[in-house]
Point group: C2
Chain length 367, copies 2
Amino acid sequence: MAQSKNTYCVIMAGGIGSRFWPLSKNRMPKQFLDVLGTGKSFIRSTFERFRPLVPVENFLVVTSESYKELVLSHLPELRPEQVLAEPVRRNTAPCIAYAARRIAAENPEADMVVTPADHLITGEAEFQRIVREGLGFVSGSDKLLTIGIKPSRPETGYGYIQVDASPRSETAGTEICKVKTFTEKPNVEMARVFVESGEFFWNSGIFVWSVAGILRALGTYLPEIDAAFAGGREKYGTTQEQAFVDAVYPACDNISIDYGVMEKSPEVYVRCGDFGWSDIGTWGSLYQHAVRDENGNAFGGGGQVLAYDTRGTVVNVSEGKVAVVEGLEDYLVVEKDNALLICRRSSEQNIRNYVEDVKYRFGEEFI
Amino acid sequence: MAQSKNTYCVIMAGGIGSRFWPLSKNRMPKQFLDVLGTGKSFIRSTFERFRPLVPVENFLVVTSESYKELVLSHLPELRPEQVLAEPVRRNTAPCIAYAARRIAAENPEADMVVTPADHLITGEAEFQRIVREGLGFVSGSDKLLTIGIKPSRPETGYGYIQVDASPRSETAGTEICKVKTFTEKPNVEMARVFVESGEFFWNSGIFVWSVAGILRALGTYLPEIDAAFAGGREKYGTTQEQAFVDAVYPACDNISIDYGVMEKSPEVYVRCGDFGWSDIGTWGSLYQHAVRDENGNAFGGGGQVLAYDTRGTVVNVSEGKVAVVEGLEDYLVVEKDNALLICRRSSEQNIRNYVEDVKYRFGEEFI
């Protein structure tokens, strides 16, 4: 199965994540960065990952109005109409409802993959194989498929998916399974039980379904949101689209597709894969995937670094800069534009608070 | 005694110190910085300290050709001819020989004070009183007076002056004394003995003498250097001065006035004072003089700082920047232009080596 004109890809790229501050900022969030030094931004890598499966004209990117130009500069193959601008942030359900209606107006037979813009996938070929398999599974049906990841640790930062298969079966998760439950982020004790049971998988936030199938589910479980976007049928693809979207978006509930649809529908399936996935949601996960020197230091950002008596430390300084660090163990040092962060790696969960404090004390221009 | 038309002040401002890298750089050495946040650069403070004693037209600044414009921007009261440009760096003896010849050509009756551009003196009135006393002492004589500082610790970074007075006498050093010996920087054991003896004082590098007196001493102890600058008698103050100086300077020995004259002349005296002196030659001495918060942190440089769980740390970030630091104890964090330094305060003596390494690895543009 090569590209199909019925296959669409929706890249969700509205994040403003502050966990990578000051590398990511409001003006330049993580999806536009190359934090791993691969030579490509996350959004560019995401686009290229799906490109063998999806015709270029069948990509849509949903993002904030303020990032529209940035998206087009990273994905110059796209026409401006392929970048959908949310006037306000409203979680994944409104975003997916809008994109599905927009696709349906163009091609009611379409199947669609929905993906975050800022995840890392190292096993591209395996990933593409699984997505192809998923597309075959959902096409022409109401089945809603999510991609699961075999958990390698009791992570408390992810949602989990419980499969309806005999526990510890060899094939559990390596084929498409019916989902038993979606769970919110667990506490660490619960996460340990999940991982040990063999029945639970991480929710990657990557979905595969037919446009007809997801619209039917939205109509059933989130009828108000569905009705809002259904009302724009005649306007999608015209010059009136943005004004219509700007009018209906603010009234939408702030709700995730997981909570609004996936946890409620009986048509939900999971295909688990092993393709080197990480959401790179923290400096810790970035550190795990970074090239490290013999002292366990990871240098990035394009600047030059000299480290003396330093171990386990991430130093990320921007191009054209030099950093000399001495006597640090397990620290983060990040310099970008008008901001510098130095903190222990073990304190990374506090970065959001630091960013709030900086905003409150010194203003928006630093965040 | 108010200002006298016979009183001249020579400010030596040729330093390119790398100990404050990256705050001080080749393009902007320490004398042009306000590292203590007083609102004035060191050279400006030095000028203002002597201004009540010296007519504005009697100041000379000796510096590198490349800093001439910088000097004039910090001291706009001076005419360009008052800034003497060394074509190469040759320690203090050639610098003083040049300045003395230049003054003698204008006013053979002159008395002169020589001072580094980058020292801190907090007790200005007392300092001015002592300099006035010194000028009265040397005027019309061959006596060479140096200003000494009562040592507060066994510092190994300074030269010491031993006085020829009854040890531990109450007045030792509080009046003008004959100098017994000048010593180079001692090791720490020797420094302890010096401090305990009560006979030794720090050499501040501030000198008072008559122009005739210092020229006589230079003629006796450094005849080649003296002869070189004596040869320009007809050119000082004319358009030919710079070409003459550029021609003779490179051949001069690289020698300090202490080693070349003060250690050899029998006419050497010291007046010790207690006027809050520091050469601010290290981050440690800067830290001692900086305003600190309740956790012993010193913030400077014009930028904004948020510190969490941080003690005894110097954070110096440039204006318009914000730094968030967490989990540091007794560190230096300095950000300026294209460079960032993070090191333990106890490692500050290595900064010169780091700068050499940066220069070798990444080039001159960072230093």
